[in-house]
């Protein structure tokens, strides 16, 4: 069984040797005679054998003849796996993880002292909480983005991301907790804000490093407390203990997951000591996460104005419209799954299309279908929670389109548009020009249209689908 069995010698240099299927395929799919020569050599054919059997002076001449005589074919490679394939259960889990902390507010609301209305007419301690939540979301969005970039940067990326997350989460939590606790006269609100910032930091660490189940486990005490509250009632101390338990569990899990990533890197470090290597790898610039932070702030503002818009417009005493926020957070899982769908289908379309124009049209179709699906989901949730659909859908569309644009790599435009929308909405409410529902509908609606146009343009580019 020596040498290339599939070339049957016939001693005649002009005749094409009897080819079997493999060599025929190779010759037909080859892009240049040298490719055939490389394959023949790798099968063990030497120049002497070629001279003896076929009369050609070398493998290259034989390959040239084979290339000329075989018809060209274009075999399709095996279908590539969809890189955007996602587990629907994971999206659902993440959606639940976004929604459950709301129960913490439900439990914690009882702990906040009722007292004089705060600035802008917010309930007591509300301003402190609002500021801390906004800062927390903005900071953690930026942190999560930087950590994802580091995570995807190859060997040692996971450890680099863990280091970044630990430093960032601790800094962010302290930046909120210390001033919050130092505000005189608002101890309960300050404690709640501090606990909330710690939870946000820990949740960011766990969500980036893949510890979703640990986070779910950490939320168990809060869920338990809210369930008891709905059924039987919970004493104040118990509520405080349960909330603290959640925060503590989350922080410990986050520390554990990040610590484990660092330990694994340390254990895998090679023996070579000297590191005189000059690295031409630019580490991600710190400014790259600014638009994500800005978007976090804007999204937080837009969501909060939904909840407290009534108070800002009509004065203290108006009930909080928290269910709109609830609808949004419940829909986050579906939103994430639809984002993956858009990217996956757009990539499939790219693989089919032969012209840029055709691709742009097809991509727009994919986008509109997914957006319609998300809005349908939100409308259903709104119906269940008895929310007026208009402002909810507008806000949902803005947030979803902005997230899609961020996923496609365009960060500044959606951040600026959302920030502008938030500022405009606050201005409208503050100057009493319009009611909360109308303000939200017009501003968010306008922003949504702009974002839709931008998203269609970006999705229609081939380079968005690397």
């Amino acid at each position: 069984m020596s040498g290339p069995l599939w070339l049957v010698p016939d001693g005649c240099s002009e005749a094409l040797p009897q080819l079997d299927g493999t060599l025929l395929d190779v010759c037909a799919a080859a892009v240049h005679p040298d490719e055939i020569a490389a394959v023949l050599e790798s099968e063990g054919l030497t120049d002497e054998q070629v001279r003896e059997l076929y009369g050609h002076p070398s493998v290259f001449e034989l390959a040239a003849e084979l290339y000329e005589r075989s018809p060209r074919s274009h075999p399709e490679p095996p279908p590539a796996p969809d890189p955007w394939r996602t587990d629907a259960w994971r999206c659902l889990l993440r959606g639940v993880l976004f929604a459950l902390p709301g129960l913490g507010y439900v439990l914690g609301a009882r702990l906040l002292p009722t007292g004089e209305p705060d600035v802008f007419g917010l309930p007591a301690g509300g301003a402190l909480l609002a500021v801390s939540v906004l800062f927390g979301w903005a900071w953690n969005q930026a942190l999560a983005h930087r950590a994802y970039v580091l995570l995807g940067s190859g060997d040692g990326g996971r450890a680099a991301a863990a280091r970044c997350l630990l430093t960032g989460a601790v800094l962010g939590a302290l930046a909120v907790a210390v001033p919050a606790l130092a505000v005189p006269g608002k101890a309960a609100a300050g404690l709640f804000a501090a606990g909330q910032s710690c939870y946000l930091g820990a949740a960011t660490v766990l969500l980036v490093l893949g510890g979703e189940r640990l986070l779910l486990a950490a939320l168990a005490p809060t869920v338990l407390g809210a369930a008891l509250l709905a059924v039987a009632g919970v004493p104040d101390t118990a509520a405080a203990v349960l909330l603290t338990a959640t925060v503590a569990l989350a922080v410990l899990s986050a520390g554990g997951v990040a610590g484990r990533a660092l330990v694994e890197e340390w254990a895998a470090r090679p023996r070579a000591e000297r590191a005189v290597t000059v690295r031409l790898v630019p580490s991600p610039p710190a400014a790259a996460c600014l638009p994500y932070g800005l978007f976090g702030l804007a999204a937080g503002l837009l969501t909060l104005t939904t909840a407290v818009g009534g108070i800002l417009r009509h004065g203290p005493g108006t009930p909080l419209a928290g269910t709109a926020t609830l609808a949004l957070t419940l829909g986050m899982g579906g939103a994430e799954w639809l984002l993956y769908q858009v990217r996956g289908r757009a990539l499939t379309t790219l693989r089919r299309c032969r012209t840029p124009l055709g691709f742009r049209a097809a991509a727009a179709g994919v986008l509109l279908t997914a957006l319609a699906a998300y809005l349908a989901l939100l409308a259903a949730l709104g119906l269940v929670l008895r929310q007026p659909p208009g402002p909810l859908l507008a806000l949902g569309a803005v947030l979803w389109l902005a997230l899609l644009l961020q996923a496609l790599g365009t960060a500044w435009p959606p951040a600026l548009i959302c920030a502008g929308a938030a500022a405009l909405e606050l201005a409208l409410l503050g100057t009493d020009t319009a009611g909360p529902a109308t303000a939200q509908l017009t501003v968010a609606g306008g922003a949504g249209v702009v974002l839709l146009a931008l998203a269609t343009a970006v999705l229609g580019r081939a380079t968005a689908h690397r």
Binding site: E43, S153, R274, L280, H465
Partner: protein, 493 residues
């Protein structure tokens, strides 16, 4: 009075080693050879410009104290910095890029490759190239080129995705042009292909001579690699045309080409190198470091040593051993060596095959701290690779005075000559017959082993390799100095 080394090196000539995926970040034959060069010639100021994967790979070689700066340039991972050009610059760059693509897609325009490449290199020196190749316009340029009627690729119906993939692959391939180029001394590319790109650019911009050593033929390996890659034909055709024309340009520009064996000359001459440019320099080992391995083991033992990888074709080895064992039930096969990280699955398959065919006759010994013990552990050393340059394990085994049975690939026949048996690759029966011949004839084995060691001492010593390269370096550097003087410019060295 001894002159301190530092002052000697102050006026030492600089040699920039250009590597890809080897020294000093990976193990392998080429790495061993690079390390030999750097350690044995402290009178030169060696630097390394290494192309790596992500840029975060740690060093796996302890660099000698005489080695200067090691620059690692990642081919994958985050793109090099720089902003895409605008306005007139952008149009100029895209026109240059279109000309370059014309050379790659139209067989009649291949002469435009070199001017196009050097123009792109100039843009890369201004930190503009990678960023420009990542824009949508670059993809459109390629797509327009491809869909021109009459070109061979139009028949393959290239999609937009193909254009995206091909542009990305080209962008990664051209990243070495962003490296800080050496301006003095000479460049020594330890393989063809992308590693030599900075050398081409340095020669074009600053006149730095380029020396090319080919242990294996880069273009040939790319052809074989792309056969199993999941790219459609247009992408494959474009990239392989790039590598082919790049090889041609490298051969044209190199002052000297030193293949590791005469086997490699064929591809070089076919690829456009002039015969007078090519000078074979074989790999070498230090015969004192690899002395006679001592008495053979009592039982018949076959030994294989190396890094476990599919290209070593251990399956043929195990099958051949099954035949040997049928004749000689007392025979054993010992496989020494670590496993490459991406070959763990392959090793497991080999272990399963060994267990199925030979029961407990085959042992995988893993890494051995001193490779000489591996050669000493056997009566005959086997090599079953389907592709080799000029294998170190073979000449080390020969230096240890062991008889060898190897496959006729690459420079193996030139290394072994008459001092070992050579069989066709992928031929377990032939390998088994050769091994049995040697195992059953101790006198022949002994005389062959002796002849092998004498052959290494005569032709393949480390000193000879180093002396050859030292002479080559001096020759190229003196040529450059005299060329500089002849043009009236002061030679900077």
């Amino acid at each position: 009075m001894a002159v301190p080394l530092e002052s000697l090196r102050y006026c030492a000539d600089r040699v920039t080693l250009l590597t890809e995926g080897t020294y000093p970040h990976s193990q392998g034959g080429v790495s061993v050879w690079c390390d030999q060069l750097v350690r044995a010639m402290p009178e030169f100021d060696f630097r390394v410009l290494a192309l790596t994967g992500t840029g975060r790979e740690p060093l796996t070689w302890q660099p000698p104290a005489t080695l200067g700066e090691i620059t690692a340039l990642p081919l994958w991972g985050p793109p090099p910095g720089g902003r895409a050009p605008r306005g007139r610059d952008r149009r100029a760059l895209l026109t240059a890029y279109e000309g370059f693509l014309t050379a790659l897609t139209d067989p009649a325009e291949e002469h435009r490759f070199a001017p196009g490449l050097y123009e792109l290199a100039a843009w890369a020196r201004r930190d503009r190239l990678s960023a420009a190749l990542r824009t949508e316009s670059a993809v459109r340029v390629l797509h327009r080129r491809w869909t021109r009627p009459g070109l061979p690729t139009a028949a393959a119906a290239p999609t937009l995705h193909d254009a995206l993939i091909a542009t990305d692959l080209l962008e990664h391939a051209l990243r070495p042009l962003h490296a800080p180029l050496p301006r003095t001394g000479l460049c020594h590319a330890v393989s063809g292909g992308l590693a030599a790109l900075p050398g081409l650019a340095a020669r074009d911009a600053y006149g730095v001579p380029l020396l090319l050593t080919e242990h294996g033929i880069y273009l040939r390996e790319r052809y074989l690699g792309y056969r199993t890659a999941a790219y459609r034909r247009p992408v494959k055709a474009l990239l392989l045309a790039f590598f082919r024309l790049l090889a041609r340009e490298i051969y044209r520009s190199a002052s000297l080409i030193t293949p590791g064996s005469d086997y490699n000359r064929r591809w070089e001459e076919h690829g456009g190198a002039a015969p007078h440019q090519i000078r074979t320099v074989y790999n070498g080992v230090d015969p004192q470091a690899f002395p006679y391995a001592g008495p053979e083991p009592a039982a018949p033992v076959l030994v294989w040593a190396g890094r476990i990888d599919p290209i070593k074709d251990l399956e043929t080895l195990i099958r051949a051993f099954a035949y040997v064992r049928a004749e000689l039930p007392a025979a054993r096969l010992r496989i020494f060596g670590g496993t490459a990280a991406d070959a763990v699955g392959y090793r497991r398959r080999c272990e399963d095959l060994a267990a199925a065919l030979c029961g407990d006759g085959v042992t995988f010994e893993g890494r051995v701290p001193d490779i000489r013990d591996a050669y000493a552990a056997g009566n005959v050393v086997l090599l079953s690779s389907i592709s080799e340059g000029f294998p170190f394990t073979l000449i080390e085994a020969m230096s240890c005075g062991r008889a060898t049975v190897s496959t006729d690939v690459g420079g193996v026949r030139e290394a072994v000559g008459d001092a070992g048996l050579v069989v066709p690759p992928r031929a377990p029966e032939a390998m088994a017959r050769a091994a049995l011949e040697l195992l059953t004839d101790p006198r022949r084995r002994a005389s062959m082993g002796e002849a092998a060691r004498l052959r290494v001492i005569a032709q393949f010593t480390l000193r000879q390799t180093i002396d050859s390269f030292r002479g080559i370096y001096r020759e190229l550097l003196d040529d450059r100095r005299s060329a500089g003087a002849a043009h009236g410019t002061e030679a900077v060295s």
